[in-house]
């Protein structure tokens, strides 16, 4: 379980998160929606400890993320994260990309790590791309590679930071398909997305962030189909006017 308690974060004088309270339960898919600059991506990176916080606390399975005594590298093995910019390491093949962390961080043997990597590539449908370099793969394939790479550390939670935003529309579907697959396997996921349709059909709960605060939270039906707050209604109206993404 991830517990986010009164988390505050500032960049200089700019307050990005103004006291966020949020729980992520085991096995659920929580979608974070909101306008650009509402703090959703920042919050995600705080959960992983990639961004420091100025107040409050984030607790993952009873361990405080920002406590200086916490072994953050150990904790990060529980938290897989996939970014908006597909960040496949360009000097490694797909297989090596996935095998690297198991080998270096989890100290598995080379053979074992490669076998594990192949398994995870197969899982996201990239089994035949094992020897390709990221530069020889499409954006969607690279993003699935990033998912496989995070999964290879066998995390308890997966964090997705607008993973389809940088993709060409025709490549969005395959990535969302992979995420649905993970959900069907019971993975706990926190998904930052602009894709309202994905949130509606897949999320157990949806949280709408507005100017660094959780404005509204509830099931997808409650928040997306029947929003109570004015800001949420405004945001959703704006989003619906955008052309539909091919999903």
């Amino acid at each position: 379980m991830i517990e986010i308690k009164d988390v505050r974060k500032t960049f200089g004088i700019l307050a990005v998160l103004k006291g966020i309270n949020l729980d992520v339960n085991k096995g659920e898919l929580l979608c974070l929606i909101g306008a650009s600059g509402s703090g959703k991506s920042t919050l995600l990176q705080c959960i992983n400890g990639l961004e420091p916080i100025q107040g409050g606390e984030i607790i993952v399975d009873g361990i405080s993320v920002h406590d200086p005594k916490t072994n953050i590298n150990m904790l990060r093995r529980k938290l897989g994260i996939v970014f908006q910019q597909y960040n496949a390491f360009p000097h490694l093949t797909a297989l090596e990309n996935v095998a690297l962390a198991p080998r270096v961080v989890a100290k598995r043997g080379r053979k074992e790590a490669l076998a594990l990597a192949q398994k995870h590539l197969d899982h996201v449908g990239l089994g035949n791309k094992a020897d390709s370099l990221p530069s020889q793969m499409s954006g969607g394939q690279q993003q699935r590679l990033a998912i496989a790479r995070a999964l290879a550390m066998e995390p308890s939670y997966m964090l997705f930071d607008e993973v389809t935003s940088a993709l060409d529309p025709e490549l969005v579907g395959e990535v969302l398909e992979t995420m649905r697959l993970l959900k069907s396997e019971g993975m706990t996921m926190v998904v930052v997305t602009h894709d309202i349709n994905f949130a509606r059909e897949s999320a157990d709960r949806v949280a709408f962030l507005h100017q660094g605060e959780v404005c509204e939270i509830g099931t997808a039906e409650e928040v997306i189909d029947n929003p109570q707050k004015e800001q949420t209604q405004k945001f959703l109206r704006r989003e619906k006017r955008k052309p539909l993404e091919v999903a």
Partner: protein, 218 residues
């Protein structure tokens, strides 16, 4: 009374003398490249770690990069002698050339490391790698690609600058050539020979680097 120097013209025995000079140049260049590059990698990395480090190492870098090699060699020679290091001319030359190589390599390494997009480093850290693991497995290999071409340029400079090590008494190829010129007055022949020799060692280095670049470019 008239007297004459013995062996005034070029003789076959001089070829042996030149070959020794050639060997000395290669020894000097290879040693200084290895020591200078290793030191430069550490120094360059240190310069990316913090502002304090960058400021602390700046005088070393700036002085070595801006003062002509021949002055550095003479100063290193005097300085080390005053300190009582009775080293051989080879080590004086190696010391000065390595120090220069370290300073210029450090900047190339620093630029290479800074060119690594932050998202790769973030990804690596998010997988649980610590800073050192990230450096070794991600930043260093990626920086290597950027740094290779300028670094080869530095190696070529170093090979040519090693010709100045004669001023500290090290008889490398250029010094050997000068000695023979003084005796034989065969200036043209010997200098063309020396130029050709430097070309022959530098050209394969730059050719090989071009091949290597093509291989690792992504």
């Amino acid at each position: 009374m008239q007297f004459q120097f013995a062996n005034q013209g070029l003789a076959w025995s001089d070829a042996y003398f030149l070959a020794q000079g050639l060997l000395n140049t290669v020894r000097l260049a290879v040693t200084a490249t290895i020591i200078g590059t290793l030191a430069g990698i550490v120094l360059g990395w240190l310069r990316t770690v913090s502002v304090t480090m960058r400021i602390a190492t700046s005088p070393f870098i700036d002085i070595l990069r801006s003062v002509p090699m021949i002055i550095q060699l003479i100063l290193a020679n005097s300085f080390l002698s005053i300190l009582g290091f009775g080293a051989s001319p080879f080590w004086f030359g190696t010391f000065a050339l390595s120090a220069w190589m370290a300073a210029v390599t450090a900047e190339v390494v620093r630029a290479g490391l800074l060119s690594v997009p932050v998202q790769y480093r973030k990804s690596a850290r998010s997988l649980g790698m610590n800073g050192f693991q990230e450096l070794v497995h991600i930043s260093m290999p990626l920086a290597f690609r950027t740094a290779l071409t300028p670094w080869i340029g530095l190696v070529l400079s170093l090979i040519k600058d090693s010709a100045l090590a004669g001023v500290v008494g090290y008889v490398e190829y250029m010094r050997a050539t000068q000695i023979l010129i003084t005796r034989t007055h065969e200036t043209w022949l010997l200098l063309i020979g020396a130029g050709l020799f430097y070309f022959i060692i530098c050209y394969p280095v730059s050719r090989y680097s071009r091949r290597l670049e093509r291989k690792i470019v992504v």
